[in-house]
């Protein structure tokens, strides 16, 4: 099932994500997915996130699909040239995958294989255009395919980037290249997100606000210092800092649900990134009445 069908039906769409293992042991990832399956419309499979070498997102997505869980296959441009990217998209189509999220990808310098060649032959915009070409029955060079793909294509945007102007211009280029929905970097400041949406809604493409569960004040400070486009307001840091350790998980759920509430009427869905707290996602959705 394509996410665009849900948006088309006026649904507020909820997705989450799981990460393939570093190794061949899939049990943990599949357990995480089971915790989420009844509460979300689809689950993203990250592609070597933070440039850490792992089991591939294609096979991981296929594993979810075979269990009746709708995957969103994440594809980055860091590790493959245009031949391999298009080939993997054809393979994904053969595996029954319908939703693809196209990203540029982190630089290799953030990961665990520092000497690797950063490929970036295509970027998020030209990857979307290549995938759209596959949907149209040809590769990006215009060569005809025997059998075409039929993907719902998504992309990402960072509403908290400063300045945000370049992000908005690129968002427009992604829409022009075929992006039919957007998932955002984590949102903690609903007012700032609302100002972003005032401009982004002109593109007429559904936007899903990214939600991260804050585990501690320390995690919030770390993200503020190190994660691009993420800003946790001081009031939330204080709120976590003044909460007793045993109550932190409940507070984290409360804050995430509050943010979902605050953004619910200005966007078309939420994408929850649990970062290990998959089992708390249902509580967030309960509290947010989703």
């Amino acid at each position: 099932m394509k996410l665009t069908e849900l948006f088309g039906a006026g649904k507020f769409v909820v997705t989450s994500e799981v990460a393939p293992p570093k190794g061949t042991e899939l049990t943990g990832m599949l357990e995480d997915a089971e915790l989420l399956r009844s509460r979300v419309s689809a689950i993203n499979i990250t592609d070597q996130q933070s440039s850490v070498m792992r089991l591939g997102s294609l096979v991981a997505a296929q594993q979810l699909k075979s269990r009746g869980i709708e995957p969103v296959f994440q594809v980055t441009c860091r590790d493959r040239n245009r031949i391999a990217l298009q080939s993997d998209l054809l393979s994904a189509s053969a595996a029954g995958i319908e939703n693809v999220l196209c990203l540029t990808g982190d630089h290799v310098c953030l990961g665990d294989s520092l000497g690797a060649k950063p490929v970036f032959d295509l970027d998020s915009v030209s990857l979307l255009a290549a995938a759209r070409a596959l949907n149209g029955g040809s590769d990006m060079e215009g060569n005809e395919l025997e059998g075409r793909t039929d993907f719902c294509l998504g992309a990402v945007v960072t509403p908290g980037a400063d300045p945000v102007g370049p992000q908005l211009i690129k968002m427009g280029k992604k829409v022009d290249a075929g992006a039919a929905f957007f998932q955002t970097q984590a949102i903690f400041d609903a007012e700032a997100f609302s100002r972003f949406m005032d401009q982004a809604k002109a593109f007429g493409v559904p936007v899903m606000a990214g939600i991260i569960l804050l585990k501690s004040a320390g995690m919030a400070r770390f993200m503020n210092q190190n994660i691009a486009g993420v800003h946790v307001p001081q009031v939330l840091i204080d709120e976590m800092a003044t909460t007793a350790k045993e109550d932190r998980a409940a507070k984290s759920v409360e804050i995430a649900a509050r943010i979902v509430h605050e953004v619910k009427d200005i966007c078309q869905g939420v994408h929850i990134m649990p970062l290990g707290w998959e089992k708390r996602v249902p509580a967030v959705l309960d509290a947010a009445e989703l």
Binding site: H107, D121, G165, P166, G229
Partner: protein, 231 residues
């Protein structure tokens, strides 16, 4: 030595768009040796443009355009003509184009592609400025090369990786190239250039030196044989 190849006049006319008046810049270094940016080539370019209704308000051949200080002093006597121009059209390597875009703070168009020879990178010391990609992107980026300035060599805009405007790869020494591009075009009132730029796709085939140039680092200096080498 940087070897350049003139872009077709149709591509250059596309860059000029609605502009009516241009100032031409050449370079007496590598571009003259390449037969793209010496006096004869600049006069030829002037003729081509004039024949298409463009007013060439002035021209200058500077040695060496890759040196920002030389660009500044070379342009100074032509300040009035440059002020009259809608843009500067630069018929040199990517470094000369970027040096001009940095000094002039106005629309600067590339008239050449820089062919990969793996040679030295001009006289702009301390930074890699031109990747010799063979498909100059400087037209769409305010005269800042996205291949050398962006750690991911992104040609359609920024990734989401910059933190406080610093590149995720080398935050201490590198600003986000696309922030710098955005700022320059915003300052010049030319942000529409970014919005309307067609999607760019790198053509790595153009990064291979043409067959006739491989292994002939001195080819362009050898004026006598130049004609038969580049045809």
């Amino acid at each position: 030595m940087l070897v350049t190849k003139r872009k077709p006049i149709e591509e250059i006319m596309g860059f000029l768009g609605e502009e009516k008046a241009v100032f031409l810049l050449g370079c007496d270094g590598c571009a003259a040796a390449s037969g793209t940016g010496g006096e004869a080539e600049i006069l030829e370019l002037e003729k081509e443009l004039t024949g298409r209704g463009i007013d060439v308000v002035g021209w200058k051949v500077i040695d060496f355009l890759c040196q920002k200080a030389l660009v500044r002093t070379g342009l100074r006597p032509h300040a009035d003509a440059v002020a009259e121009a809608d843009s500067i059209l630069v018929s040199t390597c990517g470094i000369g184009i970027q040096a001009t875009a940095t000094v002039a703070e106005m629309a600067v168009h590339p008239a050449c592609d820089t062919i990969s020879l793996g040679g030295i990178r001009g006289e702009w010391q301390g930074e890699e400025r031109c990747a010799e990609c063979g498909q100059c992107f400087l037209e769409f980026t305010g005269g800042i090369c996205p291949l050398t300035a962006c750690a991911k060599q992104l040609v359609n805009g920024p990734c989401g990786g910059a933190k406080d405007g610093r590149c995720e790869v080398e935050p201490d020494v590198r600003r986000c190239a696309w922030d710098v591009i955005y700022e320059r075009l915003e300052r010049q009132g030319r942000l529409d250039l970014l919005r309307s730029a067609p999607m760019q796709v790198k053509d790595h085939a153009k990064m291979r030196p043409p067959e006739e140039l491989r292994g002939t680092r001195r080819w362009a200096i050898d004026i006598a044989t130049r004609e038969e080498v580049i045809r």
